[in-house]
Symmetry: D2
Subunit: 378 residues, 4 copies
């Protein structure tokens, strides 16, 4: 356990803080890392709870003020696991302090904010990464690799949906998730993962037509300012077409994400409820075996498979954090880190285009969003 | 086999003609019908092939001219199984001859045409039905019944997709399916079923935003004038939102239809590849059994189940024709028949709104389509 | 509808009588048959019910006495759809009358009885077939074809189970199904299909070790004399090993049949609840696509596929009767018919070996059963 | 990270050593433990490899001699992750040294050996646990809880199978897994988990009838002395019946475990390839919802669910080690630990009864095995 270390500070002790702590604990077990991650401090406004979290996660110290965490000399990486509305300020401060920054998604609550923090890390020349951890699920990484290798040919159609029932119950009291300025939106919360994966695989989005609805418009006598369910038609720069849907109001759908790509040669389908599998229909396969292969995405030739268990045993959600943080740690300190804040901002631009399209009831080009925000850049 | 009979004439001997012949042959076996259907004649332009079809389907006579079929006094019902572009003319003639008319979907290749033929049958006071046979799959009928009984509560979200690979191969020569004036469109061919089922369950559609794409734009040196893949955002009159997708260019997706409805109480999901099942998530079910039920839609209490086999044995595509035609025959000669041409035209209006929206890149109200066409009505 | 005909008489008007009537009605629609089947008479002891069945199934006449049916000169084929305990007597009489015989499975209620009726049809030189219709499900036929073509290599392991809940409810009154002398046994009722399919694919069974249990031992104050649930270890003559289970006491398992074969090269899995699919794992497939293909067993290259609907539409239970009877009718009047009573008797021998093994708590060779019965043969 | 600690020594650095190291690393993150586990030493005969493993797993020290590990005063718990043939000697030595012992399954390579080591830990009054980690998969724990709560009623039928393709390739060179004296058998390797789960849920097994086969009988010119595929009929003391199958020769079946229980009220089905789900058919459920529920075994009311991620995210194989070791650590130092070596020996007795039954071709009572071994007990 000797050898070089990298000091981590985690901002936020909620579910995401726990997931990242898990990632740092497990990554060294699963792969050879040049620097061993050491989570040296965690921050949170509620001293009692953050202290309990520090004890639970095996973290040596805690602070109530994230500014203190950012300034600590033994912290090399600031890992931001707080609600979206706080990301930009913390990340900007961390960059200013010369720290590498890992930030949970969505990067911000507006494109302007996202672009600003992207610019901040780029100006500061610090390594930066955004928490698009679903990319690092083995089957999703395999899907990307297969697309790059031509398994589906030229991509024509992309469809993705993310259904949860998080907001179904109308008696859930108002909290930050229902507040547009803090929680962002369903488009950004669920959709940012979809858009990240889709653009990773099929290239940038040119324009969108969106719709949004909020069925329970008031909670705890406060107005709900986020969408509960949104969907969008998408045109990619490549000419491919897409459909996305994200809803937090689908009963008995706990977290059901699906992503399908149809190309001129083949089809690939990922369903999160079967996260160790990938369906592949190859148009050049023998016609008398017509159908799709259910690939068990755990073969030793598959991404991340050798790090984990023998084939057939299966990994869970946690593996995405281990693989993601492992990839970042492996490249410390030279980098590059991928996806970085540039992708975080690019995804945010698509989210904002959908939101604007839904509000204005028209097709919106992503370039409209980025152009409007560009004066902000120095 | 004595007793009252009803004389049927089938126009068209292709796959649909065969499917309807199957329906007439089997319906009397499965249910008590007041009048026994007798397919007395089938028509088709190619004498050799229609003669062979007549022999194969056990039909006593054939004619090459559908006008002759329509005029035969022993034909009570004209059942139209030809390409969409021919429906209106044949149905109008049949109505004029005082025949009941059953017409395959889509009813026509434009809303104006559909409205015109709807008006024709209504003026002639003849029974009329459109071939939305998927409604009569037991699991789809059960889905409708459960929604009516409140199983999902108030409908919020509807999503439907229909994926096939019919057009994937770019070497398929040009035929009527690629010709907008004859085959209609992918929106109408696949989408009309989706829209019929969705509006049956969730009420009328108010407006849509669509997109369409044709990836293989030329076949046999002729321009392909139909869409290969389309999708649409949908707002229902009730305030519910929907997303539809229909594509004939999804590799190794032979005919994969799914329809999901989320209400404020529950979720229902139908997948055609599992056509004897219906998934149901009940938000009021015990939380410790969180998940969905996979209903085997063959219980004796379910629609059409008693007509068929013991539970667990399963029916196929053919059952939808037997159930559909059985429902119509059971109501002969008083009627009513449902869904009739009015629904056929209403569905066509939504299809056309999607098509127009895709062309004009804007939200289109279904009322725009129907209003524009209304002067045509007498 | 002119042309040569073949006269059919169906003995029994229950579910099986209906299924066969369906088969005769549909087979001519789906395939070119040299002789058109004409069901000319149906028999049943209850005159009211058999008359109603005749009307429903579109059969021209009915009789209460099956002997009369057997003797009718316009009956070429006697199709026996009565309870197992009556098969031998009817089939023997039909053979004696020079009729071809189709008999539902199991062929008899003992091997001696089965052997005797097999000998009767062979002596009479009449065509004979036993109702192993599951073979004619397209996916099962495809499975057999693939095994013959080497898709799994040399068969090593076979596993089959058939789970239903027919007997779960202890308040179901006593009827013939609970009476060993009439209904046979669960081993024979469910297991005969499994054993037929398994031996068709993997060759004859040499010896078995079985167990049986009856959980509800009395109904309507009468002793239940059949097993509710049985299972068996199996050694095939080839050296392959098998496990079979058949139970009518598995709650919410309506008719869940699975059959899997593992060879030294590959694996094939059929699940009846997905009857239009076949899973195939090919050990020589690319390792980086590790997993099984879900073959949609409806491709035009697949058995029976061209007779039915376009790929993806799906057939149901009924298709097995259409395909089975179609195969027999196609070979009329020369034959051969396959599987015939010889296979019916061979399957019965395995069933009886399992029954004896369970009773005597020891491995039983199938040859013990057939040898013991052989003096009966003339 | 201060507070009381418990010192762990892991014997063996292979896959199981890694899995246990993972468990110790993660357990404190997921649950409140009175003593924090500290893996202080790992042992392995190959110094280079054990040193590398120690570095990878973050373990402070390593030794080549397990005896040294057992004697270290800072080791409270000896955790044995070596091949089965070595378990007894190491566990006996650990017990003699007064250490608590955790031992991977199967406990030994014979019942006599298992009974002897069970007796050793009982005589030494040390805490003891056997690695039946599959019990601690959330869905399996839920299955057990539901059975205890009456969800299936009185258990009638149990079926379990475990299919892998580990031994399919005939060119795999001989190693300890093919050597009966070191690796045990397929019955014990795969079957011990099945038997543990089944007896946990349905009570003890009375007698068995088994069969075994080895298809590739020689590797590297050495005789393979283990079974590749075995199956067994089972009678439980309660009167329930079971069927088990375990095979390492099923192509493209990486690790496909299923366990189903049918009672007089309901059915529960677990499939490892869907490890976050549990299927439940309740015979008292509404008949018009006939079918099974697919329970997402991650609801906050389910076993271990609160320790992990939000519902729908899913855990993998690793979670079973975390939950298992967490349960043991939580009860340190008072205990009790469950399942202990007594269950390890009881499972071994069933394995040995199956093996003996297969060899002697007769039903074997488990009591025969335990009685024969009892003179060995002091």
């Amino acid at each position: 356990m000797s050898g070089p270390q990298i000091g981590i500070g985690i901002v936020g002790y909620g579910m995401m803080g726990k997931a990242h702590a898990y990632g740092y604990a497990v990554a060294p077990l699963m792969r050879k890392l040049p620097y061993r991650p050491q989570v040296r401090v965690i921050s949170g406004r509620d001293a009692t709870r953050v202290a309990a979290a520090a004890a639970a996660y095996g973290i040596q110290s805690w602070v109530a003020d994230w500014g203190e965490l950012v300034r600590r000399p033994d912290v090399d990486v600031v890992d931001i696991c707080t609600p979206p509305g706080t990301h930009a300020e913390i990340a900007t401060a961390a960059a200013a302090a010369g720290k590498a920054v890992i930030c949970e998604k969505p990067l911000a609550v507006s494109y302007a904010q996202a672009a600003s923090v992207r610019d901040a890390v780029e100006r500061a020349h610090v390594l930066n990464a955004v928490g698009f951890n679903y990319r690092r699920l083995p089957a999703v990484s395999l899907m990307k690799r297969m697309i790059d290798e031509g398994a589906v040919g030229k991509v024509r159609l992309v469809r993705g949906s993310w259904l949860s029932d998080e907001f179904v119950d109308p008696t859930i009291p108002f909290d930050w998730r229902f507040d547009r300025s803090m929680g962002g939106s369903t488009i950004a919360d669920l959709g940012s993962h979809l858009i990240d994966m889709a653009t990773w695989m099929a290239g940038p989005v040119d324009e969108v037509s969106g719709q949004s609805e909020t069925f329970v418009r008031e909670r705890s006598r406060r107005e709900v300012t986020v969408d509960e369910a949104s969907s969008a038609l998408v045109r990619f720069a490549s000419g491919a077409r897409g459909v996305f849907e994200m809803a937090r109001t689908a009963v008995r759908r706990p977290c059901d994400l699906t992503l399908e790509v149809n190309g001129d040669r083949g089809t690939l389908v990922f369903e999160y409820a079967r996260l160790n599998e990938l369906l592949y229909g190859d148009g050049q396969d023998r016609a008398d075996l017509y159908g799709m292969r259910r690939i068990r995405a755990e073969h030793s030739s598959h991404p991340y498979a050798k790090d984990w268990w023998p084939i057939g045993q299966g990994v869970g959600y946690g593996s995405s954090f281990v693989n993601h943080l492992g990839d970042l740690l492996e490249r410390w300190p030279e980098g590059p880190w991928d996806p970085g804040f540039a992708q975080g901002a690019a995804v945010q631009a698509v989210c904002e285009a959908i939101e604007r399209s839904a509000a204005e009831r028209r097709w919106v080009q992503v370039a409209e969003v980025t152009a409007a925000a560009s004066p902000v850049r120095p």
